[in-house]
């Protein structure tokens, strides 16, 4: 696995927001690596920083956000150092993104075709006819019937599933190396979700690209991903290959998460739960962010922030594994 080439390396990324109530540390030091051709899942509860991470990679954050620290290497280029112009050349070309809300992510006053022309216009030198041809082909690839007609229709004329297909084709038009999908199916029905997931699997295989799949649904992760990163309160708490994560989760949070799924419990009986709720990013506890909810909490958790302990394939941010896994690097101990 290690021989494989990393296409994206996020190192100690910290993305903060300036707000009227002070600085919000939405992403507080995360490390992610995506290898060529693999699908990396990111799971975590609402507000833990999944979207901010992906938007940081895309450089699409609003003006109130800033990268306080860290690097994002894509193809050995540090994206945090790129100018907007250079970043623009990557977006929609080398890296693409699919968003959660197919209903609002398409502009209601432009036709599908007009919107899909945009990446081609920016990144490819094609004639108008060629562009149209290309788009229609792409629409067919994602399984849109009547592609020749749909191209001239407006988003509101399409159903949610269709729109998500359009979004996927938008992302795929320039055959990017990396596709980031931020909860691509959360807004969809299960039957439609199954269609879309199937489609994404096929496309990925066909185009040999890498993918980051963000979701809160462990089932989707199990179905789609090669490796998983679990986030909690702006940090990575655990990362592991997919089977390892489901079979031997290390972090108490991951364990709790898996245990609380209805399937893992007897019907009609009380579910196992993680008590409490996710802390607000501006109100993090002093030690481990998960400590207040952790069933295995001990003294050290309350006072010291754990670093990310790395095993051969698995990492975990928990003091329990201080001895089992290799210690985090020095800098991580200091800064948090």
């Amino acid at each position: 696995m290690n021989e494989r080439k990393a296409i994206l390396r996020v190192e100690n990324l910290k993305t903060f927001f300036r707000t009227p109530r002070g600085i919000v540390k939405a992403v507080n030091g995360i490390d992610i690596t995506v290898y060529e051709g693999e699908t990396l899942g990111i799971v975590g509860e609402s507000g833990c920083g999944k979207s901010v991470t992906s938007l940081s990679i895309m450089g699409l954050l609003s003006k109130s956000a800033f990268t306080a620290e860290g690097h994002i290497y894509f193809d050995e280029k540090d994206l945090t150092k790129l100018k907007e112009r250079e970043m623009r050349r990557l977006r929609g070309n080398k890296i693409s993104m699919i968003f959660q809300e197919p209903m609002t992510s398409l502009n209601p006053v432009f036709t599908i075709g007009e919107q899909l022309s945009e990446p081609l216009l920016q990144h490819r030198n094609l004639k108008k006819r060629e562009r149209r041809q290309h788009i229609i082909e792409m629409l067919k690839t994602v399984g849109i019937p009547r592609a020749e007609e749909i191209i001239d229709e407006y988003p509101h004329q399409l159903s949610g599933g269709m729109r998500q297909r359009v979004m996927i084709s938008l992302a795929m038009l320039c055959e990017p190396k990396l596709l980031i999908a931020d909860e691509p199916t959360t807004a969809l029905d299960v039957t439609i979700q199954a269609q879309i997931l199937q489609l994404m699997k096929n496309i990925k295989q066909e185009k040999q690209m890498s993918m980051i799949l963000i979701t809160h649904d462990l089932g989707v992760v199990a179905e789609m991903c090669d490796r998983v990163v679990v986030m909690y309160a702006g940090q990575v708490v655990e990362s592991a290959p997919i089977r390892t994560l489901f079979d031997e989760p290390l972090h108490p949070y991951t364990q709790g998460l898996l245990a609380s799924l209805p399937h893992s419990n007897t019907r009609k009986k009380e579910l196992k739960t993680i008590p409490g709720s996710v802390p607000r990013p501006d109100d993090l506890p002093k030690g481990c962010a998960f400590a207040p909810r952790c069933p295995k909490v001990f003294d050290k958790c309350l006072t010291d922030k754990p670093p990310l302990f790395e095993g051969s394939v698995q990492t975990s941010r928990c003091w329990l594994y201080e001895d089992q896994l290799a210690g985090g690097e020095e800098r991580r101990l200091q800064d948090v």
Binding site: E45, S46, S159, G160, G161, M162, D189, V190, T191, I192, Q193, A194, Q195, L197, Q198, H216, D217, L218, G219, V220, A222, E223, I242, R243, F246, G256, L257, S260, L261, P262, H263, S264, N265, R267, K268, K269, E270, L271, K272, T273, I274, P275, S277, V278
Partner: protein, 339 residues
């Protein structure tokens, strides 16, 4: 010792008694959409003749895809919408024709929990006001006692007196949903309709709220109609399930039957679409083609036929009737012809 604690001792009634608590008969709710003065209004057949009974103490599940009329059914049963046709018998009394005022008194026994924990609490009211209002409008207790009740119920749902004077925006989603549940439970109703009470919540919070619902059911012998699109949750919590498609109930059975032996092709497809729960799990997928059709122009015949993998000629023209396959299972599909 409070009333709530007293009731803890009594055993929940699991056995279905003969007379249903609630009986829904051929309930219809059509919305009309204004198309201008000179065109006939469009009709959305959001709920198109559904029938089922709910027995005391059970949890009755309603599943189906978005837009199939689950919420409309729930709201119409509680008469938050006026039904277009059909009967709603509550404790044997038809409430479908009651006016706002008469219905008001009955509402003590019929409550609702909403999906969106952010929209379902008035942002301008404190928790105290939110929780005492039901008691106040039904003239229960003295003002002092009401506050006492509010504190008790808060503790039951896992919050405390300390939260009494706060506003909803000071709570997390999970906490708000607990408050919404507390508001529904404080009147000690007979029936609670919970419209996707957990689907807006995070996984870890979802399980807390489900536990709370289970606990309350035990304590107060509540009857639930539980609406959800999440089959995992439905499987866990319900006793019987009705599967809806385009305003109709296509299959109704006990939860075990539905999950172990689904009959309707739609139910089958629905179950097969659920993501696997472990990477090693192998699943036979029935991937449905096409989208959910709109309720404005439902297809001829069986409304599921354009997506149905087992579609036959008859399905395209003739609407199937409901067939009772076993005492507990019924289905509307031409695959199961009536003898």
């Amino acid at each position: 010792m409070s009333e709530y604690e007293q009731s803890k001792d009594s055993q929940p009634i699991v056995e279905a008694p003969a007379a249903p608590l609630l009986e829904v008969q051929e309930l219809k709710k059509y919305y009309s959409i204004d198309q201008g003065w000179f065109k006939k209004n469009l009709e959305v057949k959001a709920v198109d003749g559904i029938s089922f009974s709910v027995y005391k103490g059970e949890t009755f599940g309603l599943v189906g895809e978005s837009g199939c009329g689950k919420s409309t059914a729930g709201r119409t049963i509680l008469k938050l919408n006026d039904p277009t046709a059909g009967g709603i018998l509550f404790e044997g009394e038809d409430i479908s024709k009651l006016g706002y005022g008469d219905m008001r008194k009955l509402r003590r026994k019929l409550q609702m929990v909403f999906q969106d924990p952010y929209a379902s609490l008035n942002p301008k009211k404190t928790i105290r006001q939110i929780l005492t209002e039901p008691l106040r409008v039904h003239n229960l207790f003295t003002p002092k006692e009401r506050i006492q009740k509010a504190i008790e119920i808060l503790e039951i749902v896992g919050l405390s007196e300390y939260h009494l004077n706060r506003y909803p925006h000071e709570f997390s989603g999970g906490q708000r949903q607990r408050i919404g549940i507390a508001r529904a439970v404080i009147l000690q109703p007979e029936l609670i309709i919970a419209d996707e009470p957990v689907s807006a919540l995070d996984v870890s919070i979802q399980s807390q709220v489900i536990n709370l619902l289970l606990k309350l059911q035990k304590e107060f012998q509540l009857t639930y109609i539980f609406i959800s699109h999440d089959l995992g949750v439905i499987e866990h919590i319900t006793d019987r399930v009705a599967v809806m498609y385009l305003g109709k109930v296509v299959e109704l059975a006990t939860t075990e039957e539905i999950f172990s032996d689904p009959k309707h092709p739609y139910t089958k497809a629905l179950l097969s679409s659920v993501p696997i729960s472990h990477p090693d799990e192998q699943k036979e997928r029935i991937i449905l083609s096409g989208d959910v059709p709109s309720a404005v122009k439902p297809p001829q015949g069986c409304s599921f036929h354009p997506r149905c993998p087992d579609c036959m000629e008859i399905c395209k023209t003739k609407e199937p009737v409901t067939v009772q396959l076993s005492p507990t299972q019924s289905v509307s599909c031409h695959l199961y012809p009536k003898e």
